[in-house]
Point group: D2
Chain length 349, copies 4
């Protein structure tokens, strides 16, 4: 009556030095031969650390390819080229390469090890990917990673903007849960209370200590990963993705890859939280200020005209998906915010 | 390869006024006829609130019984007497009555609604029960509650000692996770990293704001419930129960029901955290001080002699269950602590 | 959207000589110490075969007890007496002892190995048990056996009546599935088509070769076990238990344990199939004739008066459970059948 | 400890007239708008029956496309073109179109309704697909169909060769299960006994009544669908696919789509059963003779040279997959069989 089947990673390591031990983790699982799909622009120190970690544990690298773009056909070609002897696929680097690796691994039905070098969004521990198909970004199912290995030391060394992007993606849970409850009242869509409580809790967990240090990276990684459980439990992305993600999707349709996903989402979360009169608005504002999120957002150079169009388009992106944006045209309020809120004004200068 | 099947409550409400709405929740689920098993010593205001909540939604109370003791045979007799027309069983009150209700519901294969009036331990949202069989406390499986309804206003009004007991039971996750990792190194017992991270996180969540107010009750309830997910994910109580629980079980063998479960467990957690040189010892100490846990512990009048025997007995209670206590006789360190630690000295005066 | 979580035995062996190899199976699972609950009246050859199988593989028998009656309190006492060091519980013998063993194992949360010496009903591979509580038979949940080990040679040597009982219990799937579809049309109760197809199929599988030989025992054992999957898939006993089981339950209320479960059920299936104008009536009649079921049924000495009362009581046994018997008083048709059908006349002489 | 999570179709109908009622089934599920992917060469009577079934229930057909080839890029393009408002995707026709439809639906994360017009293989109720990628056939994961609707009248009217192909694919379970047990003895690969018993049983079920009539189509459809459960239970294709499938895959690499999958597989099953000295060889031979399988096989014009190469290639196709073919070069025995077995001689004339 109340049994739920979820898929979770079987191997999880979140700690400093995890990259060095990756070879040992592979060995213990019996993954003697691996294929690697990695970001194109990684520092040499990281790629050689990966190589020596695997080699020192006698793991053979049968295949290695860089993925510059999160492209559907590129994932297909990697799948077609993957050696059948590979015991597992390792995705290494940023979100785009990881999505290509995850999708190729799902096509090949091989275990996938997700080894992010930054925590810019929650995709490193989710079954979903976002790929370009004929120039348009599409959300697709892959499979939950078999392993999630986060070297907190490595992620701490990633550009600060990527960290802010992760913070922005995490903050979206607050508005997403609120949108879900609005949908219940407007359309009767069932809310899974358990998933909603879990999702909210991931943000609070990080809020308790939102520092950019080893412990903070561990908390952010754990929180982003837990938000995946909330989605698994209710079988939808509702607890993690509401109107703030619709706005980001709409922006991607107009200009894909212009900005970091989590930066876009974070700014949209802040705007939507105002419209929702979200009870956690102050906590959110404090989080963004404290972590320096606004600096990364401001330096992104957001475009007021694009956002206006995106907010108009957003409610039509997912059929039968009620959010605060479905209720009426909010542009007047938003325009007012963009002019008068000091943080937003700095972003849309 | 990495799919896990877990059982979670289908209906969850944690908010002020939830008791008043219990009838509506039953109605929505189609539970028109219910049986109630409740604590013997509840304030009249609570029992009449329960009654009027159900009656105002036209829910028929077919059966109502008080459960004074958490007794196996009492649960059996309640099961035997339950009317077959009952659509669901409601457990109302403290941990003992809830365990009897949960076990009777499991025998009857009826949906069980857990409605705690205090949060003294994590049993309100777990599949396990603790019952007396021939005078000895035994852990038994029941089934995960179908519904968990926590009226935060009601729980806030419960005696402060019960609140401290819940805080103590929650804190045990820190030592339990550490014991699990010790077992991995000593015996190779597999650690589910995901479950361990989740369990740790429940404590951090509450640590962020350990206040005795409506929001604090909500956070404690959510955290205790989430620890149940961690257990479901790994299929054992390892992430929530280590040597600190063994000590409490050992105490129960000598004198069952002498003290509140979570008070015993909390004190044992504090002691074990010292032995483990647990990295979260300071956070734990701060939590107990801030919440006033020590006052409840001190007023319990713990017995030094009993604890010495319990600590000696603890490692033999569960076969093949390695913890810090399996490593050697720690009594010298513990005796020293009991004499010199100001908090413990107050408890064992 | 369409994911289902089921519990199935992890270890299954259905073949001649399986009893001799039981010790090896335990050894491979790491069950070095076991407790045994067995029937009171087993031939010495069987009990010594069990003993030597375990001993030759160095499996220690920590506890051994006979269970004469399928009694709730007996299962409770066995649970209370089980040594905590036991790695697994073995149930050995007929349906009653196996139910006691299964329930005690479930209380103790230990792996349970079901080793039937006859196939008189489908309980050897199901999570349910039927126990006497204060003189009344009650259905209770236990847990799915971890292992099902059927020595086909041993079961072939069991009394022929027990074999017929198994055939009768299997045949019930045909009327149960039909009742389920009637319930859909009468009350809208959802039918799980997949489970219904699977359940039907188990009977056809055995019908292809309903011989009382090693291969036949294997097919009957497999079919009875598969009917358990059908129940697991839909989460209820609907595909395996309809009005024919209600009649049997009603008989048990009047005189528990008077007759073999599957003999009662088989006769009731035959009667109900007439009322349902079941399309498989002829196949059923052929099966009973071919296997000699009717001889066992006739020698049971069924009581016409008891059956009349049982059929009147049957529709009131399970609330909200529609079957053909819910539709009207069928006694006139049934009385006519009992007088004129040659097989039934022989049973109720 | 022994819980397994499987995915099964939520909606199953196997009966005459099911096509006419497809619109009603959609309506009940709330699928008001559908997309259709169908075979290119269907009789007009079938396509108009589909259309009128949907229209009479007010189901809007938003998209309709024919899929001539089971091509990866075609599935991708259909996915890209699917209207986001579609509530479900219907696959209609033969195995190739159904595989394209199933893969496009999986990419789009929409419910998929599988409506085969023939039963030529077991793909209509499995999560796997077989698609051409750069000219080579590849096995890929999609998702289990939400619905399986088999109009037995329609399938009975399909070309006899397709029926024989389904029979051939079903028969493969016998050799696949045997190969699995060989692998256990040779490499220690774990056999899931339960899945093996289930898979065997599907063939016996059909063997009981292998007629080409409505009831026979129902049994074949049910059996092929059940073999999917066996695979779900053990999480691999082992119970349904052994050396006989390796031979067929090897043939496909040399000349994809030359012959019907199930015809190739059936002939390979017959050959492998000889090598295995399979205990069910006679039953298999009887089945093929009785159903007329050999006539379809003989009229396919198999090529001795290609088969010799395929048998040599087969053991190298799946790494770490032991079968009878891994043990040594069997060509001498096979060559002898091809010359002297009357049925095979007719096929390789």
């Amino acid at each position: 009556m109340n049994s739920t089947s979820i898929t979770i990673p079987g191997l999880v390591r979140i700690k400093p030095g995890a990259l060095e031990r990756l070879g040992i983790y592979c060995q213990r699982q019996g993954f003697g031969r691996v294929a690697i799909v990695m970001s194109a622009d990684l520092p040499a120190a990281l790629t050689s650390a990966l190589k020596s970690s695997l080699e020192s544990a006698d793991i053979h690298i049968l295949f290695r390819q860089e993925a510059a773009e999160p492209d559907f056909d590129e994932a297909r070609d990697i799948f077609a080229a993957l050696p059948s002897q590979a015991d597992a696929i390792i995705g290494f680097g940023g979100g785009k390469a990881l999505d290509v690796a995850k999708f190729a691994a799902a096509l090949a039905r091989k275990p996938y090890l997700s080894v992010p070098t930054s925590l810019s969004n929650d995709s490193f521990a989710s079954p979903a990917v976002s790929l370009l198909l004929r120039g348009a970004k599409r959300s697709l199912n892959a499979t939950m990673p078999f392993g999630v290995i986060i070297d907190t030391q490595v992620c701490l060394g990633a550009p600060r903007q990527l960290w802010h992007s992760g913070v922005g993606d995490l903050s979206a849970k607050l508005t997403a849960v609120r949108d879900w409850k609005l949908a219940f009242h407007a359309t009767g869509e069932k809310v899974n209370d358990f998933a909603a409580l879990l999702s909210d809790a991931t943000v609070f967990q990080f809020l308790a200590r939102p520092a950019h240090d080893l412990q903070g990276v561990r908390l952010l990684g754990t929180a982003l990963m837990q938000s995946g459980i909330a989605m698994e439990i209710c079988g939808s992305s509702r607890p993690a993705s509401g109107s703030e993600h619709l706005i980001s999707h709409a922006l991607d349709r107009m200009a894909p890859q212009q900005h970091l996903h989590g930066i876009q989402v974070g700014v949209a979360t802040y705007i939507v939280a105002h419209l929702q009169r979200n009870e956690h608005l102050c906590a959110l504002a404090g989080l963004f200020e404290h972590t320096g999120f606004w600096e990364s957002a401001a330096s992104s150079g957001l475009n007021r005209q694009q956002w206006q169009e995106a907010i108009a388009l957003a409610p039509r992106i997912k059929p039968n998906f009620h959010t605060i944006l479905s209720q009426r045209d909010w542009w007047p309020e938003i325009a007012h915010l963009l002019e008068h809120d000091p943080w937003l004004r700095a972003c849309f200068a």
